[in-house]
Symmetry: C2
Subunit: 188 residues, 2 copies
DNA sequence: CGGTTGGGCTAGCGTTGCTAACCATTAGCG
DNA sequence: CGCTAATGGTTAGCAACGCTAGCCCAACCG
């Protein structure tokens, strides 16, 4: 089995090479620069190799997005762990915004680019893990409101802030004030 | 002057034909279906005609977006006018969401597609008019918070809800509950 | 009626995502 | 060791894209 094993390993590492190159390229020059030819040149293989792993370019973005959801979930968990008691939601919210601004290309893949990645029951667990992390922070402070709904609203608020900020539609320099206001009012 | 006048009129109506066709086509099949060839076929002219009016496809989307901002501003103003006193912010918020769900293609042009349309000082007045409308509804209830910041946060929340709902990332059937919660908590 | 202006067209360039067909190297087997 | 089969890779090409150059014909002006 060692021979087939090595092949699988090679295959997997090649796939990983594609996604990581796509991610890096998107990070450097945006997703518009991620074309099959460009990507093929970057990984030093011909284009059809890409299609041995992914059936379309969008599939690659989805793979990057999936990784991103995992990393986001981990980052939020870490922020919640390290936060002072009572300040956890605020900390998680700021960590969310920081994630989006640190890796805009990945965030784009997760939310703006391909919308095909649904979540909720029946989907890959990773995306809902990130949501669950948010929910875990919110739930204790939900009070009389429905925790699920409240989490969705907080999430929407954060996402909206991220998107509008990136498109230059919010006044610069008020980032923390906006997030603090959102969290402060939403979770009294 | 009547001859040149007729020419200008024709030219303007041709331009308007392009934008309205693009809008309709995007509404029917999404912005991906709006290609120069397709658009040319639909207006029954050849492709280069399009470039007599717009220097790129994105410019067309921007024109549609600009119209959209005007319509949004008008819709929000109307909602505010017709609202019961004390319920105005909630009414405006729901009108915002309704606009997005009624004309998803236009909303896409305004926010998701081309990000080139900035607003704030120095931009076309129309986009900021929509924001001003939101602000006018919010300001009286701002309390001790900064009205501008609060408006931005409310707007982000609404936009986030719209976007996440459209991508199927929120539980269906809780739309009004989410908006009511957002408004209720944000403006006590 | 002749000269000029301008709106519209055909044709084509370079690039895109994706695929078909072929080649070579390697693995499995008598 | 030698033959067959499968596997990983390539070159070449298709249809569709955004956008542009260059021409043609009709309408306007004197």
């Amino acid at each position: 089995m060692t021979i087939q094993d090595r092949r699988n390993r090679d295959r997997l590492s090649q796939r990983q090479l594609i996604t990581s190159t796509a991610r890096a390229l998107a990070g450097r020059e945006g997703w518009d620069a991620v074309t099959t030819r460009r990507l093929a040149a970057e990984i030093e293989y011909s284009q059809p190799v890409i299609y041995k792993h992914f059936s379309s370019l969008d599939d690659i973005a989805d793979a990057v997005a999936l990784d991103g959801f995992g990393e986001l979930a981990a980052a939020l968990a870490e922020a919640r762990r390290a936060a002072a008691p009572g300040d956890d939601v605020r900390a998680v919210a700021h960590r969310y915004a920081a994630f989006a601004s640190d890796a805009p290309a990945v965030y784009d893949a997760m939310f703006s680019r391909s919308t095909r990645l649904r979540f909720g029951p029946g989907s890959p667990t990773t995306p809902s893990a990130a949501f669950a992390e948010l929910r875990a922070a919110v739930a204790p402070h939900a009070g009389e409101a429905d925790a699920e709904t409240l989490t969705e609203v907080l999430w929407a608020g954060l996402h909206g802030l991220v998107v509008l900020l990136r498109s230059g539609r919010l006044r610069p320099g008020h980032d923390t004030a906006r997030i603090d206001l959102l969290v402060g009012r939403l979770l009294p």
